[in-house]
């Protein structure tokens, strides 16, 4: 049974005084990790200094998470060593990493949802054989840390009631609570709103000022430029480059990552057509932590990308569920290409030519344990193309899968591979292909590039613009304001379940949009 001294009792050795530059807080030497034939990490070595922020960059599947998991003891490296404060960490022992002062905020949160914030943080921090969990002490310490670093959360809140941003704060608190001296953040901003991301960066600054060292993984180059001191680029498991942030540029980093220049897509003038989808004063109960909708109206026109910006939780998820057919309106009307939809369901939406790209590709977009082929036909298996008299035409299905794999440049071992084995970017391409193949009249793109690398992002953008050219009506829901600004012909802001008046491309500044997102400013429709 694990035995954990109270963190305060054993402060990790922190190299005080001079010689900081000489003695790194963390040293990875020659880390190699194989998954079967795949070499996920290949002889990676680097140092992290006290108070330094390193950004780790790389395409989807480059091996970033794997490397961090080795450092933290989730995975055991096949070769190489990890040294923290000059002492070698035993392999595969998260407890040792924690005790040595390494804290990790995982790409996918590791919180027990039905338990409170305090319980999640205190887990494993007190001696297992104590007859009583000291909640008061834990609460005190959490409040202090929260105050010191601007990480406000209610310790007694159940995690399931928290927003993504709050959950992330809990994750960081977990690390700080254990006196972490090295903090690893794996794509911390992928699911954050810009405002939340800013708050996170402020916290990180405070931490660095306290002498913590940080490894920060992100696909967003502007964040990397803003936050880090040094950038490491991984490509196919190898360290492909190392740059001092101040001496490099976004373009250079992008080309280091992908191996070539990434051109941003060119946007032609829209050819706006008829209304393809219309919501007529619909009301619907809120989905999860998202706001409810009350008498909301919306028109999507052919050949136009409508961008929907907003702080998450303001009803975007509810709106997306509604358009996707997952949610039936309590009142009001859904009109697809002129036809009022009485029985609204995912099937009805698909039948009406509405393509859907869901927010969560792992939980909702794909069925992880089924093959690529089985996943690509999921929305259309019942059509004549893939089935006859109750029997599936596997040949047609496989052909279709191969077609998507080819046309959408999906990297995968074979159409029979379980889709779980694909990287997020490739999964997303597959979902995109599945959705766009039937030339849909309406496209609901909900966070289509979340967590994707720059190459994949450009690819998705290009495909969406092509669909627009072809005359599709597109609703782009994204928390990435840059993305919304770059792609949208028309922008709406959602706040407390209501939509602002629309603005055309370039009409509103980021600032104005920000005010609308915060729920004030002119232009909120009544």
């Amino acid at each position: 049974m694990p035995q954990q001294p109270h963190p305060a009792a054993s402060p990790p050795p922190s190299p005080q005084g001079g010689g900081e530059a000489a003695a790194p807080v963390l040293r990875l030497s020659g880390i190699t990790k194989r998954f079967g034939p795949l070499v996920a990490n290949n002889g990676i070595s680097f140092d992290l200094k006290r108070g330094e922020v390193i950004a780790l960059l790389g395409e989807n599947g480059a091996g970033k998470t794997t490397l961090m998991n080795i450092l933290f003891g989730h995975y055991v490296a096949d070769e190489g060593t990890v040294e923290v404060f000059g002492k070698q960490l035993p392999a595969g022992d998260p407890r040792a990493a924690l005790d040595a002062g390494v804290g990790m905020v995982h790409q996918h949160f590791t919180l027990a949802e039905n338990m409170t914030v305090l319980e999640n943080i205190a887990l494993g921090t007190q001696s297992a054989w104590k007859l009583r969990l000291d909640r008061a002490a834990a609460r005190k310490r959490i409040s202090k840390l929260a105050g010191d670093f601007g990480l406000a959360v209610n310790p007694d809140a159940t995690v399931s009631t928290l927003s993504v941003g709050e959950r992330q704060r809990v994750e960081i608190l977990k690390a700080l609570y254990r006196d972490a001296r090295i903090l690893i953040l794996d794509e911390p901003t992928a699911v954050l709103t810009p405002a939340e991301a800013d708050a996170l960066f402020r916290t990180l600054k405070l931490l660095v000022a306290q002498g913590l060292s940080i490894i920060f993984i992100s696909h967003k180059l502007h964040e990397v430029m803003a936050v880090s001191d040094r950038v490491l680029v991984l490509r196919s498991g190898k360290l492909a480059g190392e740059q001092v942030t101040a001496e490099t540029s976004r373009a250079e980093l992008a080309s280091l990552m992908v191996g070539q220049e990434v051109a941003s897509p060119k946007v032609a003038e829209p050819k706006i057509g008829a209304v393809a989808l219309e919501l007529k004063s619909v009301s619907a109960a809120g989905q999860g932590s998202s706001h409810r909708l009350d008498g909301l109206s919306l028109e999507l026109r052919a050949g136009e990308i409508t961008g929907l910006a907003g702080v998450s939780g303001n009803g975007q998820a509810t709106l997306a569920a509604l358009i996707a057919g997952v949610l039936k309106p309590a009142s009001g009307e859904v009109v697809v290409q002129g036809a009022s939809m009485r029985d609204w369901s995912p099937r009805a939406a698909l039948g009406g030519g509405v393509a859907r790209i869901p927010e969560d590709r792992h939980a909702v977009g794909t069925i992880g344990d089924m093959s690529v082929t089985e996943n690509v036909i999921a929305e259309r298996y019942a059509t004549a193309r893939f089935s006859r008299r109750g029997f599936l035409d596997w040949k047609a299905a496989k052909n279709f899968a191969e077609e998507i794999i080819r046309d959408y440049d999906v990297k995968c071992p074979s159409p029979d591979a379980r889709i779980r084995l694909l990287s997020g970017g490739n999964m997303q391409k597959l979902i995109l292909g599945r959705a766009l193949d039937p030339d849909p009249a309406v496209i609901l793109a909900n966070q289509p590039t979340r967590g994707l690398d720059v190459g994949a992002v450009a690819f998705v953008h290009r495909r969406l613009l092509e669909a627009r050219e072809r005359g599709a009506a597109i609703l782009l829901i994204s928390e990435d304001l840059e993305e919304v600004l770059a792609l949208s012909d028309r922008i709406l802001v959602m706040s407390k379940g209501r939509l602002s008046s629309p603005s055309r491309r370039g009409e509103r500044t980021i600032r104005e949009l920000g005010e609308l997102m915060a729920g004030h400013g002119e232009g909120m429709a009544a």
Binding site: A324, A363, I367, A378, Y381, L392
Partner: protein
Amino acid sequence: MRLEPKPAPSLGVTLLFPIAAIVVTLLITSLLVLAAGASPFSVFYLVAKGAAGSQFALLETLTRATPLIFTGLAVAVAFRAKLWNIGAEAQLYIGGVVTVVLGTGALPLPSYLLIPIIMIASMAAGALLLLGPAVLKTRFGVDEVVTTLLLNFIVLLFVSMLLEGVLKDPMGLGWPQSSKVIAEAQLPRIIQGKRLHYGFVIAVVAAIIAWIIMKKTVLGYEMRAVGHNPEAASFAGIPVNRVLMKTALLSGGLAALAGFSEVSGLKGNLTLDLSPGYGYSGIVVAMLAMLNPLGVIASAIFVAGIFVGADAMSRTAGVPSYIAQVMVATALLTMVTAILLTRFRVRWR
């Protein structure tokens, strides 16, 4: 300790581990035989002889495998869609009830009409019985593990009530048993004078049909999708609740066929001991087959063979007959472990 997937196990490895499992099982069994004061050396021979050493033994094994194929299929189908049907036992009994209700003279029809009618009616009854828990699951979120488990008790008491009431055989001298089904409702024996009956053939056909459904049809695809990720399935437009209902109907129907086949093919009438836990063994059979309907045939024969063989061994060796169940259980646990080890490698750090 952790498991790492093996790339592609070679044929040798695929066979090696199951063989090792059988060897371990025999070793453990031999130890118990030794503990009972008998000679452990011929255990393997005696088990094999008892399970397949003669035409009689082989037919007995297949006879016992028959209901296990049905219940195994019922479980395999349901578990695919993650509908945890632990109630195959109850569905089996309901199938038996329908068989005697219709087969004891109520429907004076020729065999070729009567038997299909009884089969369909049994399946319908078993299907409806599982539909209840399925509806409770989808409508009220009631855990079906529990409801199907509890229904086993309720149905058994219900059958007991019928057998002491309306279904009681007037010629049965007061025993809680039903009348015998009429000749037209009986499944013929495959070999005259032996116990193996056409229920076995029906079971094999059912397995093939179930395999086709799972592999080739839209329904099978839907069931797997719902089983793996209901949320994603629902998003993609798969009618999750309807699929679960269909799964329940199919699974309950298959389990009910076990009751039909035992009554109509083997016992002739319904008693309270129609099944020595075939419903529960079905779970074992299905999981050993890794939920593959065709695999269910093999695993049912394996489980039946071990039992029949070990039971015979216990008599020849002169050890308590409970050793048969011990051996079945040991074989099961070692075999599932072996199957795992063919696919994964154990790393100790």
